[in-house]
Symmetry: C2
Subunit: 241 residues, 2 copies
DNA sequence: GCCGCACGCCGATCTTGACCTCCACCGATG
DNA sequence: CATCGGTGGAGGTCAAGATCGGCGTGCGGC
């Protein structure tokens, strides 16, 4: 006691006393910046607090610990990605458009100026079960959505459709991240277009695959949406034999 | 632990005094096990030494520090992956076989019982520049090898080929890891076959990029191995070394 | 208009855990 | 038989997560 408060007139007020909700939001923003820039392990709670303009105790009054803070951000952004992909798939019944919008969803997600995609796609805390589970669940939701679309519009088995969906997700993830890093060379639209074309060529002709006889194949490929292909003509240059 | 120092006569000799090379090899093996199981940050040098049956000073006599030990493992396995992919591409001139063997290279790499692929594909030390650079270099080498093949056998530009190669690498990476985790459902051969088919459909028809109609470019696909199209000049410009 | 209350905020500190070296010991060699 | 290089356990250092008492401000009640 009587430590050395020096002079009581020292300007103590740094922060204008925010309400809890606003403060929490600001802390999440600061944490996102630091976690994205440094990664989980290299990030320090001191820096997050400093970045937010508050002291560490305030941080610990809003979040029980570093892990929970990270998980809050991770949950937010992984849900955002999943929602984007699901909306892209549900927004239309034309499968080519579905692919376009899904790939675009990944590119947009990666292109977010906050760089939050790194938390979901390049986390350095996969050893933590909670983190791993969250990331894998988000991945699985995207895969499941795509696979459900595939299995609904083709005669493929669930396993086959899962595999294809995983491949497409990996393609979109990897290319979008690569495009972001090497962003200068190719425009986003061009990259998306290339990837869509690759994916579309890859799966558009699928239902005509040699299947055990007795299984009447659908009349058309994936490009046949729910209804008849009435002038959709979406197939770009698909080599239609 | 530390039951008691008790008597100094407790048979201290555990290790039969290995030569340096063998000892180093053994240390690398122990380190690999621990790093794979725990990740870099959760791994402790104590555990690596204990796993190897030696004490910590010997560990530090073979490696300057934890990071260097990790880098040695990372370099070894990333080089192994790159070599596998390069050999797969150079082993034949048939592009379909090239894809088969390349995808198989990824699946084999992931399927290694040591689990070493996690070091390269799921490292939790990307914040470290040396680690990041090593991983990205390995990735880039795989991409470059594939892109070089594409650009040699088609008229695509370097940028386009890079993009396709990145997509194929991402596809192989993601599906192989997914297959390993969900290994029970699909056999490896079946998964490889599906992915090869997807990739092959995706790129096999490529050299006939949107060209004015009326061109009878029937057999002019990637499956036509030799002979770059004469009219495909289009200023490659050779930007990257 | 004024007072007391309560809440939010801060400086300084503690503790843990992991990486990295110093004193006793033992088998091979001249 | 003596020496010497390598081995083993105990300890130092430091960074980073987590926390305790005090302070100042804004607001409801009188």
């Amino acid at each position: 006691m009587t430590a050395e408060p020096a002079s009581p007139g020292t300007r103590p007020g740094r922060t204008p006393r925010l309400p809890r909700t606003a403060r929490r939001f600001q802390l999440l923003g600061a944490a996102r910046e630091v976690f994205v820039a440094q990664g989980y392990h290299a990030a320090a709670m001191d820096e997050i607090a400093e970045r937010a303009g508050v002291s560490k105790p305030v941080l610990y009054q809003h979040f029980p610990g570093k892990l929970e803070l990270y998980l809050a951000l991770l949950e937010e952004h992984s849900a955002q990605l999943v929602t984007s992909v699901q909306e892209a798939l549900e927004s239309t019944t034309d499968n080519h458009t579905r692919i376009v919008r899904s790939v675009q969803a990944y590119f947009d997600f990666v292109n977010d100026p906050s760089g939050a995609h790194q938390l979901v796609l390049e986390s350095d805390l996969r050893s933590e079960p909670a983190v791993r589970q969250l990331i894998e669940t988000a991945f699985a939701r995207c895969v499941r959505a795509i696979a459900a679309t595939i299995v609904a519009d083709t005669g493929l088995t669930q396993d086959e459709a899962d595999l294809l969906a995983v491949g497409l997700v990996g393609l979109a993830e990897t290319t979008s991240r690569w495009w972001l890093v090497r962003g200068g060379t190719v425009s986003k639209e061009r990259a998306v277009e290339s990837m869509v074309e690759l994916a579309w060529r890859g799966i558009s002709g699928y239902p005509r695959q040699e299947r055990p006889p007795g299984q009447p194949d659908q009349a058309d490929g994936l490009d046949a949406a729910a209804g008849p292909p009435d002038g959709a003509g979406s197939a770009p240059a698909a080599s239609e034999p």
